[in-house]
Amino acid sequence: MGAEGVIAKVIGAISGALLAITYIQPRSISGLIRRMFVSLGFGYIGGESAYEYAVYMHWMVRGTDALIAATCGVSFFSWWVIGGILRVIAKKASGEG
């Protein structure tokens, strides 16, 4: 989507990251920086895929608004999803799973 898409993804990623740290506050500054980094990065990278999937499934209407919303959603949930994946990996690695 060109420059419009980049702006939409940046806006969506920032929105999701801000909402995530507002609702579940990080305990320290380093936690804040880690979470912002992960949320912004994953939102920017995974937002477009989520957008394409949502449009394909007819959940969203193709356009800038949908790209912002999809990026925002990915950015918001990325921290918990990554935490869950890491817990599963740690469990498998320790031989409990």
Binding site: L19, A66, I68
Partner: protein, 171 residues
């Protein structure tokens, strides 16, 4: 300036007048005013992505409350501005799923949230007046059950966080 903005301005001024004894009330009213002003200016300037601009302004407000608040009643303000952020994100999502809400409805939701914030500050101030040991001895609040209830609510709202804890940890 339309009639709703004028009403909010008058409401904020009245709240400021009655809450001069509440610590940080003037700070939150002025910061909330700046938040409202910034997001309104963005909208009136005709710039795009105004829910995002409102969300960023509300985030600054939430972050200020998180860092500077000390008493229990300020948690109400914190939650109010969190809801304001949620309203902006909901506006983005509703536009994305093809059922956009109108700008008027969105503005009304934000206005309502601002009024709730003013009511929280004003209500704390009024309960503070009625719960004062000498000043608040008026009418039905002079003695008895009402008096004890108001004093208890006032003490509860004004409970200050111990050092090392965040204000929401005293709730």
């Amino acid at each position: 300036m339309n009639i709703f903005e004028l009403a909010l301005l008058i409401g904020a001024f009245i709240t400021l007048l009655i809450s001069w004894r509440v610590p940080r009330a003037a700070l939150w009213i002025s910061l909330g005013g700046l938040d409202y002003l910034a997001s309104s200016l963005w909208w009136y300037a005709g710039l795009r992505f105004h829910p995002f601009a409102t969300l960023c302004c509300d985030f600054l407000m939430v972050a200020s409350i998180y860092h500077m608040a000390k008493q229990r009643w300020e948690l109400g303000l914190f939650i109010t501005f969190q809801l304001s952020m949620l309203a902006s994100v909901l506006k983005m999502f509703l536009a994305a799923i093809g059922t956009p809400i109108t700008n008027l409805a969105y503005a009304q939701v934000l206005e309502a949230i601002n009024w709730v914030a003013l009511l929280i500050i004003g209500g704390t101030a009024i309960i503070g007046w009625l719960g004062e040991p000498y000043v608040g001895r008026v009418g039905v609040f002079a003695t008895g059950r009402w008096r004890s209830a108001i004093v208890a609510i006032n003490q509860s709202l004004r409970k200050t966080r111990p050092p090392g804890l965040k204000f929401y940890q005293v709730w």
